[in-house]
């Protein structure tokens, strides 16, 4: 039998190729470099994300596919790739010093981050169930390892075990949903699934509904939606802080990318049903996340619940699921990358050897001794709470306006009520920072890379808040090929 290997469109997958190459390069360089110089591996990985970004740029505006229509290059995929690469670059920057403090300065760390990013990039571009599943696994397996990276710290390992078990459990549920979709249509290509389901006119077929629920459950775990959120606080608390920041942005965004593509492309036939399902998830996620966050005394757990609540806000965009709705999803995830990694970086700033600086009480009186750090934290909190003039406000504004425009007024009402509620716990920390006297001397762990990353994130958060026009235009443009004429 003559076998002709397909000739793929290499230009389309160039960013992924570069990323794969760079991850391997990092692994090789890691072996060659001495133990004291491991930070250089981090810088190398950073350069890798930037180079990948540079290879992604020329693809902007193109719309193509390759590998038997399994891999798409379109606006959504590209925008998400930028979010992933941005998050990765920021996480690498804030990791450099942290790894030293925790005594796990190993090159593999950066390789695993790059592998996880590669997985996300393929997830966002995947147009086929097998590809999506494999890339998702590539992403989560890398993050399992990263969670458990501080092996001497039992909390880190336990967090990894927990994340791992729940992760593969929900992956199996996701798989069952995918299997049902395949069974109903005989194909694994998302576009063809959508076409077949429309043609068959199955309507509210129980198998289809079951598939929908299982898919939502499996991906709900990845985006940390209630009721699939139980792992989040423990995992965020236990894992290395930069990895908690990474998980709270990257895999979440990737989960949203897949969720959006899967439901919109493959399941338009049961739009009302999944609309309702996501509506319920969205309301539960926002409300529970915010309510529980109020009671936390550990800042990483608080940020974990806050990130759950933010997943709820983003789900508003998926419930709306029109051009504006999806544009608001990508817009919000972009802003969220800045502000959430920023907030986690403040925890890194407080971290010392043997003390992770995670108690909210640790921030008492920070504004006295370190006014600039306090201002940075304030900006991130204002943004997370959705108060102008920050990017978080623009993001939420866009989400809520999408909801109102599509007549989901109650969703918007619940959203803004939650948003007001969230102020309480963000400002509790602000109060401690500004309005209480320090209980002892506060020493921050500063490093040039961390300060640089913080400056980038503060400026980014404010810049998007003051002049969001280009970003909004880009988000809209990224959706145009899908919804437009």
């Amino acid at each position: 039998m003559e076998l002709t290997l397909p000739i793929p469109n290499l230009r389309a997958i160039m960013p992924e190729l570069v990323m794969t190459f760079w991850a391997c390069l990092v692994l090789v360089v890691d072996v060659l470099i001495s133990k004291e110089r491991k930070t250089w591996v981090g810088y190398l990985a950073l350069v890798g994300t930037l180079v990948t970004m540079a290879f992604t740029l020329p693809l902007l505006g193109t719309r193509t596919s390759t590998f038997s229509n399994m891999f798409l290059v379109d606006g959504v995929a590209l925008f998400f790739k930028f979010i992933f690469l941005l998050a990765t670059a920021l996480v690498i920057l804030v990791s450099l010093r942290y790894l030293d403090i925790e005594g796990v300065n190993l090159g593999e760390y950066y390789a695993m981050i790059l592998f996880a990013t590669l997985g996300m990039m393929i997830m966002a571009a995947g147009n086929e169930l097998i590809t999506i599943y494999l890339s998702l696994e590539l992403m989560v397996i890398s993050t399992y390892v990263l969670c458990g990276f501080i092996r001497r710290d039992r909390r880190s390992t336990e967090a990894a075990v927990k994340y791992f078990l729940l992760g593969i459990f929900t992956s199996a549920i996701l798989l069952y949903g995918m299997a049902l979709l395949y069974g109903l249509t005989g194909t694994t290509n998302l576009t063809e699934i959508g076409r077949a389901l429309q043609a068959k006119n199955l309507g509210a077929n129980p198998a289809l509904l079951l598939a929908m629920i299982f898919l939502a459950a499996g991906l709900g775990f990845k985006v940390a939606a209630v009721p699939f959120h139980m792992y989040v606080p423990d995992v965020y608390e236990g894992s290395p802080t930069p990895i908690a920041a990474f998980i709270s942005v990257g895999p979440k965004a990737a989960g949203f990318a897949v969720l959006a593509r899967l439901f919109l492309v493959s399941l338009p036939a049961i739009r009302p049903q999944w609309g309702t399902l996501l509506w319920v998830l969205c309301v539960m996620t926002m409300t529970l996340g915010n309510l529980v966050a109020m009671k936390q005394s550990n800042i990483k757990r608080m940020l974990a619940y806050s990130s759950i609540a933010h997943a709820g806000y983003v789900l508003i965009g998926l419930v709306v699921a029109n051009e504006i709705g999806l544009a608001s999803v990508v817009l919000y995830m972009f802003v969220y990358a800045f502000m959430n990694i920023g907030a986690f970086s403040m925890v890194i700033l407080m971290c010392k050897r043997g003390d992770r600086g995670e108690r909210i009480e640790d921030f008492r009186g920070l504004a006295r001794s370190h006014p600039w750090a306090a201002i940075a934290f304030l900006v991130f909190f204002l943004s997370l709470a959705g108060i102008p003039p920050t990017g978080g406000f623009i993001g939420k504004f866009y989400l809520f306006s999408a909801a109102i425009q599509a007549n989901y007024v109650w969703l918007a009402v619940i959203g803004v009520a939650n948003s007001a509620l969230s102020v309480y716990y963000y400002f509790r920390v602000t109060m401690l920072m500004y309005m209480s006297d320090p209980s002892g001397e506060i020493r921050l762990t500063l490093s040039p890379s961390l300060v640089f990353a913080l400056a980038v994130m503060v400026i980014g958060t404010l810049a998007i808040g003051l002049y969001p026009s280009p970003l909004i235009a880009a988000a809209r443009a990224s959706m145009a090929p899908i919804f437009g004429p």
């Binding site: 406000f393 809520f400 007024v409 007001a420």
Partner: protein, 601 residues
């Protein structure tokens, strides 16, 4: 130049931008000053506020009092994809509030020199940022921009209360923040609803306040719900009766300057919001909400006065008196006639002056005795005569003695309310009497009688600095009280315009009906021309036809190119029949003839 605004009053000089952002620029510069050089920080903050005050004066002197149009307007693209612009402008309603803000800004910096000893740099930075936020709220003519200023303002106020406040500062700060934030998120929903309704109707998605006010058509149900959303946002800020509980806490815990600004400016944003947005945007809802709001206002007036009477703490007393006074303002505004609204607007300024001054007085006495209990004082008039005179004038202004500013405002409000309902007016009078009672009683207990406490024997009288910052406030109390005409005349065109708007039926049915009526008239005048245009107008085809009201009321001609909406053309008093024909050319985008821009007297 579009007829809704006068852009080049100062030859294109961006005076509003400067007035708004000078304090912010000052705050940013202050950030980089060494926090130990406190003298420099104080001086710099004062200079910045004085410069801001100086820049705001031309807004008054160069103000065109013959028109209700937006003046000194600046308009730039900002977020085109959302339809949000950087659009500033002022009219008679906002100009006095801006002057009040810049004046109180300088006063509050000056009054803090001694009172604030900790973390001075952060303090003055917060004050300056706060001032930018407040000015922005009054100046912004784009809902998006407005909302940003509205929210930004909360943060520095929160810090002012929370860092430099009294013993329960944390509680008061978070309560203040959560209450006002909860209100403003509903405001946000209302704004979004308005935005989409207007966008859906005209295809022009914009946050332009002027455009929305003149163009959007709302059904009765939409008016009700959006009014309610705006109401929650503004009523918390005012604060109206059931939403007022944050106010005493915030006032009592805030430092003096914080209280001055809170009472003088922040509370006015609620009433300003009602006048600027609720009345013209939702006329039917405003009309039908009158009994409800009047009830809440009257409860607020009486309840505030009674609670004030029962206070032992001077600052709490003044705080509750604000609830009472603001109830008065709301009652005047919702009389929905020219006298009531202008009275309410003027009373906002008066309250800013007199209550601001009262808080300053409380601050002066507190700095000396570190107590605010009324019982700790008595017979002060013999010890500190200058202080007594200042206090007396302020107190008399607050209770509305003729010849002082409070009288003019209260009188106008009463005249307006009387026209609407004698019963409301009766309750309002009761409120005035109660107000006089607790103020006079307070003055009597503090100032007269024998000096019983030893600590009060050797109190220092007001210093020169204190007299300097009290003087302008006292001066304006007299000026407005004796010769209010300039201030009323600056308000009048805008207020008259708002009151006219409240009479307009904004529901689409009404608009359709009106235009149908007009078509019939038109057909009678020139049958052939009308028949050509009639179908599109009846169908409500926005860009081409005038779906707006008849010309005698606020006609809303829309320029065909989707540019700024044409001006309201009030020729009030002129019969509809006569006005219908001449205003027709405006429908095609031709500028209005000049006489239409002048409110008929």
């Amino acid at each position: 130049m579009t007829p809704t605004e006068i852009q080049h009053a100062l030859g294109g000089f961006p005076i509003l931008t400067l007035v708004t952002f000078i304090p912010l620029a000052g705050a940013i510069v202050l950030l980089f000053v060494n926090s130990r050089s406190t003298g420099l920080i104080k001086g710099f903050a004062l200079v910045v506020t004085l410069i801001d005050l100086a820049f705001s004066l031309p807004l008054y002197t160069r103000f065109d009092r013959t028109t209700h149009l937006m003046q000194f307007a600046e308009r730039h693209e900002w977020i085109p994809s959302l339809g949000a612009q950087y659009y500033l402008g002022i009219d008679g309603i906002s100009v006095l509030l801006i002057l009040l803000t810049t004046l109180l800004g300088a006063v509050s910096v000056l009054c803090s020199f001694k009172a604030i000893e900790e973390r001075q740099k952060e303090y003055y930075v917060s004050l300056l940022v706060l001032q930018t936020g407040m000015l922005g709220v009054f100046i912004a003519l784009d809902f998006f921009l407005f909302y940003i200023f509205w929210e930004v303002m909360l943060v520095p106020m929160y810090f002012l209360i929370g860092i430099w406040g009294g013993p329960r500062k944390l509680y008061a700060a978070i309560k203040f923040f959560l209450y006002t934030l909860a209100g403003s998120v509903f405001l946000l929903l209302g704004i979004l609803a308005l935005y989409f309704i207007h966008g859906g109707q005209t295809g022009d998605y914009t946050f332009d306040i002027v455009k929305l006010i003149y163009q959007v058509k709302l059904t009765t149900g939409q008016q009700f719900w959006i009014f309610l959303a705006f109401f929650v946002g503004f009523a918390i800020k005012v604060p109206m009766f059931p939403f007022h509980t944050w106010l005493p806490d915030a006032h009592v815990e805030a430092p003096t300057a914080g209280s001055v600004i809170l009472a003088g400016v922040l509370l006015k944003m609620g009433t300003y919001g009602f006048v600027r947005f609720n009345l013209p945007l939702f006329p039917q809802a405003s009309q039908s909400f009158v009994p409800f709001i009047a009830l809440l206002s009257i409860i607020g007036i009486i309840y505030g006065a009674l609670v004030a009477m029962a206070q032992d703490d001077i600052k709490k007393l003044v705080a509750y008196s604000s609830v009472s006074h603001l109830g008065f303002v709301m009652l005047g505004v919702f009389a929905l006639n020219v006298q009531g609204v202008s009275g309410g607007m003027l009373q906002m300024i008066n309250h800013g002056l007199s209550t601001g001054a009262l808080f300053l007085i409380v601050g002066i006495i507190y700095e000396r005795r570190h107590t605010r209990m009324i019982a700790d004082f008595g017979g002060l008039s013999k010890v500190i005569p200058v202080f007594t005179v200042i206090f007396a004038i302020t107190m008399l202004s607050s209770i509305g003695l003729p010849g002082l500013n409070g009288f003019v405002g209260e009188f106008l409000i009463l005249v307006g309310v009387f026209q609407r309902s004698i019963m409301y007016a009766a309750f309002a009078v009761v409120g005035i009497i109660l107000g006089a009672a607790y103020m006079l009683w307070l003055f009597q207990r503090m100032m007269f009688g024998a000096v019983e406490k030893a600590e009060n024997q050797n109190l220092r009288d007001c210093t020169a600095r204190e007299v300097i910052y009290m003087l302008p406030l006292l001066l304006f109390m007299f000026v407005i009280g004796i010769y209010p005409k300039p201030y009323l005349s600056i308000l009048e065109p805008s207020v008259a315009n708002i009151v006219r708007q409240v009479q307009v039926d904004r529901t689409p049915q009404a608009a359709a009906q009106k235009s149908a009526e007009r078509d019939m008239l038109q057909r009678a005048v020139s049958p052939s021309a009308a028949q050509e245009q009639a179908p599109s107008r009846l169908a409500g085809a926005r860009p081409a036809g005038v779906a707006g009201a008849g010309a005698s009321k606020a006609a809303v001609p829309v320029a065909g190119d989707g540019a700024t909406g044409d001006a309201i053309s009030p020729s009030s008093g002129a019969p509809a029949v006569a006005a219908a024909a001449p205003s027709l050319p405006a429908a095609a985008g031709v500028p209005q003839p000049a006489p239409h821009r002048q409110p008929g007297r």
